[in-house]
């Protein structure tokens, strides 16, 4: 087919009445650095959809972590600060305490949130800081190329547990959501996934609920998302989603861990 014909064809197809899907306007139209099939990009997209649908693009401030999502601010078209490794919850505390009427969120990996930042996360939760923590649990250090994370499963092979994680030497996989859920300052803890369409929809709903709770001033909300790292797991995207379903989710079961009682 001649090139002109293709252009005409595309023009005829890309019309408002044919629109079935578009990127949210809150997501910048640039190439992402995430590996093909990585859950980070899915979560970015659905979270920005939520921000768009709630109409809060001008009223939200985000905190990017150190980890593969360090560049979240290159994609999310909202005001953002980039925190030192693990310090996102402390940075978010500073922001939210200064701007209590704005929405504030952090976006953190398992290493960032549960290892180096465990203390900051725990105490922000215990103070009942009124912001949302989006927690991407891919059971590995993605950015630094696949070392063991606090969430790495027993027996799971990583570059620093090359014979599989041995809990006697390396400790046990940490369920951070369950750890903080009993704290009175914590309003909402849920664990979701983005490995299939149904789970993506549920995750999106959870993110929206968390922002609504924040609006009500209910306190600390943690949305954990069991995700993948095809590159460091050395799997295809499809295989990695299957691994999420068959290996990770049985240890990190999906669903709400704590839900606030909302007075109607």
């Amino acid at each position: 087919m001649a090139e002109e014909n293709v252009d005409v064809l595309v023009e005829n197809i890309v019309t408002p009445e044919n629109l079935v899907y578009r990127k949210p306007t809150t997501l910048l139209d640039v190439d992402m650095h995430y590996c093909p099939g990585c859950g980070h990009s899915t979560v970015h997209k659905i979270f920005m959809e939520v921000v768009e649908e709630m109409g809060i693009q001008n009223d939200i401030i985000g905190v990017a972590p150190v980890g593969c999502a360090v560049f979240a601010y290159n994609y999310m078209d909202v005001d953002m600060q980039q925190a030192a490794h693990g310090r996102a919850c402390a940075v978010a505390t500073g922001i939210k305490r200064m701007l209590p009427d704005k929405y504030v969120f952090t976006y953190q990996g398992d290493g960032d949130l549960a290892a180096i930042g465990g203390n900051e996360t725990l105490h922000a939760a215990n103070r009942g800081e009124n912001f949302l923590v989006i927690f991407i649990n891919n059971a590995v250090y993605g950015m630094t190329s696949g070392q063991m994370a606090p969430t790495t499963l027993e027996g799971m092979v990583t570059t620093t547990s090359p014979y599989g994680r041995d809990p006697k030497v390396m400790g046990y996989p940490l369920k951070f959501g369950e750890l903080i859920a009993p704290l009175p300052g914590v309003a909402y803890v849920t664990r979701q996934a983005v490995n299939n369409v149904q789970n993506v929809r549920r995750t999106k709903k959870a993110l929206q609920r968390a922002l609504e709770y924040q609006k009500m001033g209910l306190g600390f909300c943690l949305v954990e998302i069991v995700s993948n790292c095809p590159s460091n797991w050395k799997m295809t995207p499809l295989e990695s989603n299957k691994y999420v379903q068959e290996v990770l989710i049985p240890y990190y079961p999906l669903g709400d861990i704590k839900v606030p009682e909302v007075k109607k």
Partner: protein, 355 residues
Amino acid sequence: MGEVKLMKGNEALAEAAIRAGVDAYFGYPITPQSEVIEYLSREATKRTGMLVLQAESEVAAINMIYGAAGCGKKAMTTSSSPGISLMQEGLSYIASAELPCLLANINRGGPGLGTIQPAQGDYFQATKGGGHGDYRLLVLAPYNVQEMADFVKLGFELAFKYRNPVMILADGALGQMMEKVELPPQEPRVNVEYPWATTGKPKNGERRVITSLHIQPEKMEEINIRLQQKYQKMKEEEVRYQTKNLEDAEYIFTAFGLVSRIAMKAMDLGRQKGYKIGWIRPITLFPFPEKIFQEVAPRVKGILDIEMNSGQMVEDVKLSVCGKTRVEYYGRMGGVVPTPEEILENFERMFIKGE
């Protein structure tokens, strides 16, 4: 004249913070400066609505400041040596992201857990960067309780002028001792919208991003060059120092902070014995007052630098005079405060008896 009170240095600093209209204090208790957070917890919120938050650590406190400063707010913290060490990571990020903030180090004896007695062992850490990377804090060294109060407002002015962290470097004695202080008038807390501050993406503008990450080395070098230009401007515009008896001086005593007062007394004792001693007190430790040392160096027989450490500022004095006069150091360490008599004795040993 403003309101005059008898106050501890730490309390004067805290009171001055309330009166300067500071928006937030984040801190973690440590001797000898816990009075600051205690005083603010009692007084600040009820008077101005200022936020006072006890963080879980100094690591958290400095990162809370990063967040608050990134919203364009006046945020500060205080600590003492071990706590300041924990803040170095955050300070490096704050300096790189070019955020304004104020912190005070009420220096105690170290290294390690050390002692709670006054010391100046953190001079290098304060003036040479402290954390990783090529950056500087603007460092103010008060020598009395009055300056503990005055440097709060000045510190914030400089922090916002340069979008750079400013440190008040004092010591345990300045924090704990009581002196008369004239307090500044109460200023309101003001809401200023800075174009760089993350307060929610403007309706008709670009989003704001506060970061210290620049993956491209050329871009990172650009940032470094900008930082260095800023420090150069500080060197040209912000140098502060105080002098006495330079006109006829044959020798110079130099010291900063508390020790400069002891050195002044030692100078007086020396003059009674006929030694023509002058006195230079650096007030900004970074930028260091190089020029005054360059000026006096050719016409004096020597400079005695006195410190409560093993000789840290003396390196900057030597760099300033560049071999044009003899520079010696005398000091005590680990929380021991030198006496005027002992300073004079050592001056005589080194410069008069020609050891």
